[in-house]
C-alpha cells in the first residue's frame, strides 16, 4: 500500500477505482494552409459555437450551483470575446499561414503563461481558465466537443492533471465518486465546485500523482488530503467504516433541514448562524439556519481604506437583509479594537487592548462613526427583519447613551422623510461580568441579550484568550462562566425579554442540554454546526439534563 498526500479540497471519503482522465487539448499539430481567410472564418465560427455552449453551461450552473460559482462561465465567455485573444489567434494564422487549431493553442498558451507567471495566487489560478477556453475552441474546431465524461461507465474516481471548471460542472455525480488532481489548490474553481456539489476531492498531489494507475483501487480521504493506493484489508475496513459513519451522519443531518429544534420535552430553541461576510449567507441557506444571530459588521471597516460611507454600508446591509428574505438578521455594531484593527482608525497603541479602547467605547466617544452606521442600518431596516446589537457593554449608563444616539438617528431620518422599520429589535451583548451583574436593570432597557461567551470567559476568568500558555485556564464550561449565563437568562426572562448565546460555546454539544434546561431562547453558531446542534436538541430531554455542574464542588 502506498500513501500520497495532497490538499484536502472537499470533504468526504470515497473508495473506488481510478479513471485516468486526459484533460487539456486534443493533440494538435501545425499544418500549413493556403487558405488563411478560410482558417480565420473557421476560427470565428468555432468561437461562436463555444460562446453559445458557455452560455448554456452558465444557465445550467446557475440552476445547480448558484450565481457565484456559475460566474466562471461568464468569465470564459468574456475571455473568448477579448480582443487580445481574438487578435492573437488571427495574427498567428496570418503570420504563420497555419491551421486554426494550432494558432488557438499557441495564442491561448501564451496568455495562460502570462497568468501562470504572476505573483498572485488568484491570478495564477486564472491560467487554467485560459487553457480551458482555448481547449474548448480547439475541441470545436476538430469536432470533438462532446461531453468529456460521457463514456464513463460505472462509478469511478476521476484522476486528472487539473480539472477544468467546465469539466467539473458537467460531471455526472452518480458516476463520479471523487476526484484527485495533480495541480490546483483549495481556491481553484474545481475545488470550490466540488465542495458545492458534495463530492470528495484531493487536489495538488504533485509528483505523487504519477504513481496512480488506471483501474487501481484507491481511497480518497477528503478530510485530510490523503490518497491510499492499493489499500490493505485493515486500511480498507477502517475507511469503509469512516465513510459509512460520515455518510450516515450527513444523511441524518440533511434530513433535519426544514425541521424546528424542539427537545423531547417540547422546549424550542432558535438556532441561528454567526457570520462575518455577506459571502457566508450561502452557507446559512445551505445549513438551514433560522436566521443570522451574529453578523459581525467589521468586514465593512476592515476591507476599506477609509471609513465606509453611509451609502456603502446601507447597500451592504440592504443586500444582506434581502438575501435573508424575512429571516432575522442581528447585526452587531462596530467591534474593532483588541485583536481587530483597521489602520485608518489610528487607534493608539495599548498595553492591554482587550480591556482598552474598543467596540462601543469607540462608538460613544466618536459618535460620527456610530451615527453613520446606525443611519445605514435604520435605512436598510425596511428591506427585512433587522435587529441591532451593541457589543462590550459594561454599564447601564452606556445603554442609556446608546439609546439617545438611536433616538437622534431616528429623529434625523424622520426629518429627512427617510423610512425605517418600527420593528427593529435593539439588544446588547452580555460579555463582561459587569454587564452580567447588572442584567436585571439592563433587561428593562433592551429587547434582547446575546451572551458572547468568548469574551465573557476571558473576562470572568481573568484569562487572556490569545495566550496559548493559558489555554487550560480558558474554559467556557467553568462553573463561574456557566453561572453567569444562568443569571443572565433568568434576569432576561424576569423582564420578559429573550436571551441567546453567540459565542463559540453556543455550539458546544456538551452544553446544549444545560442551555435547554436554563431556558436559553436562541443559540447562534457557525453555519456548519447548525444542523448538529439541531440534532442534539431533538434528542435531548431537558428534564433529564444533569445541571450539577452549576453547583459542583470540585477542585
Amino acid at each position: 500500500m502506498e500513501q500520497i498526500k495532497g490538499v484536502a479540497a472537499s470533504k468526504g471519503i470515497s473508495i473506488g477505482s481510478v479513471l485516468l482522465y486526459q484533460t487539456g487539448d486534443p493533440k494538435v499539430s501545425k499544418k500549413q494552409t493556403n487558405d488563411v481567410l478560410g482558417e480565420i472564418a473557421r476560427f470565428e465560427a468555432a468561437v461562436q459555437t463555444a460562446v453559445a455552449t458557455l452560455g448554456e453551461l452558465h444557465e445550467r450552473a446557475l440552476q445547480t450551483v448558484g450565481e457565484k460559482e456559475a460566474a466562471v462561465f461568464e468569465i470564459h465567455q468574456m475571455m473568448l470575446e477579448d480582443l487580445d485573444f481574438l487578435e492573437g489567434v488571427k495574427d498567428c494564422i496570418t503570420s504563420e499561414s497555419c491551421n486554426a487549431e494550432y494558432a488557438v493553442q499557441q495564442a491561448g498558451g501564451q496568455l495562460a503563461e502570462m497568468f501562470a507567471g504572476m505573483d498572485d495566487e488568484y491570478m495564477r489560478e486564472r491560467a487554467s481558465d485560459v487553457r480551458d477556453v482555448s481547449a474548448r475552441v480547439v475541441r470545436v474546431l476538430c469536432g470533438c466537443d462532446g461531453n468529456p465524461l460521457e463514456g464513463v461507465k460505472g462509478q469511478v474516481i476521476v484522476a486528472a492533471e487539473d480539472l477544468m471548471p467546465s469539466e467539473t460542472i458537467q460531471m455526472d455525480t452518480s458516476k463520479v465518486l471523487a476526484f484527485v488532481t495533480r495541480l490546483g489548490s483549495k481556491i481553484s474553481h474545481s475545488a470550490i465546485l466540488a465542495r458545492t456539489m458534495g463530492i470528495p476531492a484531493v487536489v495538488g498531489l504533485r509528483e505523487g500523482f504519477d504513481t496512480l494507475k488506471a483501474g487501481q483501487e484507491i481511497i480518497v480521504d477528503g478530510f485530510n488530503g490523503d490518497v491510499y493506493l492499493g489499500p490493505d484489508e485493515k486500511t480498507l475496513a477502517h475507511f469503509k467504516n469512516e465513510r459509512d459513519l460520515y455518510l450516515e451522519k450527513k444523511r441524518v443531518l440533511r434530513s433535519l433541514i426544514g425541521k424546528r429544534a424542539v427537545s423531547l420535552d417540547g422546549k424550542e430553541i432558535e438556532i441561528n448562524a454567526n457570520i462575518g461576510h455577506p459571502a457566508d449567507i450561502a452557507l446559512c441557506e445551505e445549513n438551514d439556519a433560522g436566521g443570522i444571530g451574529l453578523f459581525r459588521s467589521e468586514f465593512l471597516y476592515m476591507e476599506s481604506q477609509d471609513f465606509p460611507s453611509e451609502d456603502f454600508q446601507f447597500e451592504s446591509y440592504r443586500d444582506i437583509l434581502q438575501k435573508m428574505a424575512g429571516k432575522r438578521v442581528i447585526v452587531r455594531t462596530l467591534d474593532l479594537g483588541a485583536d481587530k484593527h483597521a489602520p485608518y482608525f489610528k487607534l493608539p497603541h495599548e498595553d492591554n487592548p482587550a480591556m482598552g479602547y474598543r467596540a462601543i467605547r469607540i462608538c460613544l466617544r466618536q459618535p460620527d462613526i456610530f451615527i453613520t452606521q446606525l443611519r445605514a442600518l435604520h435605512r436598510a431596516s425596511v428591506f427585512g427583519k433587522l435587529a441591532i446589537m451593541f457589543p462590550m457593554i459594561t454599564s447601564l449608563k452606556e445603554v442609556l447613551e446608546i439609546k439617545k444616539v438611536v433616538a437622534l438617528v431616528k429623529c434625523q431620518l424622520d426629518e429627512e422623510h427617510i423610512p425605517y422599520s418600527k420593528e427593529i429589535e435593539y439588544g446588547i451583548m452580555i460579555e463582561t461580568p459587569a454587564a452580567v451583574m447588572a442584567t436585571d436593570l439592563l433587561a428593562r432597557e433592551v429587547d434582547f441579550f446575546s451572551i458572547g461567551t468568548n469574551d465573557l470567559t476571558q473576562y470572568t476568568l481573568a484569562c487572556d484568550r490569545m495566550n496559548a500558555s493559558l489555554s487550560e485556564l480558558y474554559d467556557p464550561r467553568n462553573l463561574s462562566v456557566l453561572r453567569m449565563i444562568a443569571l443572565t437568562v433568568r434576569n432576561a426572562h424576569k423582564a420578559g425579554i429573550w436571551a441567546g448565546i453567540c459565542g463559540e460555546s453556543a455550539g458546544d454539544l456538551e452544553l446544549t442540554g444545560l442551555y435547554l434546561k436554563l431556558g436559553v431562547d436562541e443559540l447562534s453558531v457557525s453555519p456548519a454546526s447548525v444542523l448538529e446542534v439541531r440534532n442534539k436538541v431533538l434528542h435531548t430531554d431537558s428534564r433529564e439534563v444533569d445541571d450539577s455542574m452549576l453547583n459542583l464542588y470540585t477542585v
Binding site: 468569465i75 477579448d82 480582443l83 487580445d84 502570462m114 497568468f115 498572485d120 486564472r126 481558465d129
Partner: protein, 86 residues
C-alpha cells in the same frame, strides 16, 4: 482628456468577473481608455487580458485616462463602476 484615480478595496483585487464587466462597459465608449497601475504598467481598458494582466491588488491605486469625444461621460461612468465593484 479626463482622468481619475482609484484605490482598489476589493480583497481579490481587479478580479475576473467585474474586470470583464468593466471591459464590456469600456467598450461602449468611443474614447481611447487607458488604465495604469500607479507606478507600474498600463493597459487598454477595452481588453480583458490586458486589464487582468496588470494584476492590480487590493490597496493598489490605478489611474484611468479617457481621451476622445465622450471622455467626460466615460470617465464619470467608469469611476462609478470602480466605486461600486472594486
Amino acid at each position: 482628456m479626463k482622468e481619475f484615480e482609484y484605490t482598489i478595496k476589493d480583497e481579490l483585487g481587479l478580479h475576473a468577473r467585474p474586470a470583464g464587466l468593466l471591459v464590456k462597459q469600456a467598450a461602449t465608449y468611443q474614447s481611447k481608455l487607458t488604465i495604469e497601475k500607479v507606478g507600474g504598467k498600463s493597459a487598454d481598458l477595452k481588453r480583458l487580458f490586458g486589464v487582468m494582466g496588470l494584476a492590480v491588488k487590493c490597496g493598489e491605486t490605478v489611474k484611468v485616462t479617457a481621451e476622445g469625444e465622450d471622455e467626460a461621460a466615460a470617465a464619470e461612468a467608469l469611476e462609478e463602476f470602480f466605486k461600486a465593484n472594486f
